[in-house]
Amino acid sequence: MTQPIAKGTVQRALHAHAAIGLLASALLYLVCLTGTVVVFYQEWQRIEQPDAPEMGAIAPDAVQRAVTAALAADADKPPTTHLYVHMPVPDLPRTTITTDHRAFHVNSDGTLAGPEENAWSEFLLGAHYALNIPGLVGMTIVGILGVMIVALSLSGIIAHPRIFRDAFRLRARDHQGVGLADWHNRLSVWTLPFALAIALTGAMIGLGSIGAWGLATAFYDGDVEAAYAPIFGGEAEPDPRPAPLANVAAPLAWIAAQHPAVRPTYVVVHDPQTRGQHVQILAEHPQRLIYGEAYDFDADGRFQGTVGLSDGPLGRQMAASTYNLHFGNYGGLPVKLAYIVFGLALTVVVATGTSIWLGKRARRGLHEPRLRAGWDGVIWGVPLALALAFLARLLIGNAAPLTAIFWIATAAIPAAAIAFPARRPKRLLQYLLCGTLALALASWIAL
């Protein structure tokens, strides 16, 4: 029987696959795992602060009162440049106002209910989005990891010529590495469309700053805002002279009357209480991948036009679709559950990749207990560090240093495993993970 792909090509593809995978396996694993957990970003917020006021909808006049109250509460602080009102949606039926300084929950009558406390959800999003590194560096690193997943998917297919033919053959129990290899290959085949979609959209988001910098340098005299403007629309000229607060209620009423099928998700007041202020309403369109359409209004609440995310040029619609496609929030709970399952599968694929490589070396007589223990420390240490951070959030409160707890544990657990490799730490870490999760569950129920 003739080989569909030349043997030399297969061997080089295997080399490429292993080289890319091993280069960043720990970070890839961390990003895949946090990405899976953060699919429930909205639900985590409800778990974190279960007593925040919830509502199916809020009246436009109540939103106007809430915006006025939020700005009044910040009167002793520097003026807010962008004020966001999160509107109640089925997955997060809460109204929340975020100024440049803080965030408030809002009661359905428009009074301020209290501070928003979602440090865990924000930490989780930051860990996935940018490895909690401030600025654009972390996002760019995560974007590079997305590029690596695309390259790993391609090299994996070439390196395993029978991968499609064997796609339904899964010998689950491990024997001399067969089970691990089967889990790795089968899950990677069947999550291939998901992995490619997630990796490419993640890379587009993460590398957006490099792309925009390139576009600005080549075509817009270095103006990055101008480079983004064809996609997201430009910022209006600010006029800092004081003015009464813009009419926020009228745009919401206009949307409800003119576009009853769309659902407002955010109200953005640009440069509030200045003459340059204007209002933008972001509204979800049903059965679309775009994160929404931006409807622009002047300070008096008169409709000015849309950015064209829903019906503009294809490039704009595509760019606006990357976020929902990446985070899985375009079809309610069923799509989120599917993203959890496939995200977990992708995490398992990454984890088993390095384990397979270590297993092959061990079967060839190259026993590396420190490497093996270190990889155990990554596979079980990262979820343990996440569970510890969540437990700290529940026990210490919103001010708990979650980023420090997570990253110290994430670094210390593999380091300790490498330092004391005599016994594989896998079982101990599994027990600790289960114990921490049980403790977190008990704490949450008790709160």
Binding site: M148, A172, Q176, A218, Q287, P313, G315
Partner: protein, 193 residues
């Protein structure tokens, strides 16, 4: 999801049928080109129906149904399979040196430089060149920008993989230089026009 077009539901059903037929075709003792072909056509038809019903959203929903069906079949295979009697492949990936082999640190660092920063630079030039070409061809500015933002990670992934597949360093430099120079030329033409 309940308000999805009936075409999306039909497409999902057709795609699930495609996965089931693939399961059957790949389980046969001899390869059946006809069954394989029909199965892939069903998957394609499912995606087309999803797209016709609700555009990109519909295609996404159909593909989630197909992947879920495959996952359930895999779960069934995992639950019923017997432990393997053979050993897994021990093919060498040649990533770390075996005992006594030289480490080639310099060569490895150069490979990293070629596939990461240099390939990124080449991909960026290709993406910007494509944007310039699109604008010359009369595309909307948003299309050109969207194309550049899409091509940057895509071209980098393809280039990094292709470079690692090339056994000779000289070929790697050539594969970097040709798209980079082409992209640079298009940018120059685009900005001069």
């Amino acid at each position: 999801m309940t308000a999805a077009s009936p075409l999306v539901w039909a497409g999902s059903a057709v795609a699930v049928a495609g996965v089931l037929l693939l399961r059957r075709a790949w389980g046969l003792p001899r390869r059946s080109a006809a069954q394989n072909g029909i199965a892939w056509l069903l998957l394609l038809a499912g995606a087309v129906l999803g797209g016709a019903g609700n555009g990109a959203w519909g295609v996404s929903i159909v593909s989630l149904f197909a992947m879920t069906a495959a996952t359930l079949l895999l779960a069934q295979a995992a639950a019923t399979s017997r432990p393997a009697r053979v050993r897994a492949s021990d093919r060498k990936a040649h990533i770390l040196p075996e005992r006594g082999e030289p480490r080639h640190i310099g060569r490895r660092l150069l490979t990293f430089a070629v596939t990461v920063p240099l390939a990124l630079a080449a991909a960026l030039l290709v993406a910007l060149g494509a944007r310039a070409a699109a604008m010359l061809a009369g595309a909307a500015e948003a299309d050109g920008t969207g194309l550049a933002l899409l091509l940057l990670p895509l071209v980098w992934s393809l280039l990094a993989f292709a470079l690692l597949m090339l056994p000779r360093r000289r070929d790697q430099y050539l594969w970097l230089a040709v798209p980079a120079v082409a992209g640079l030329g298009l940018i120059w033409i685009g900005t001069a026009a």
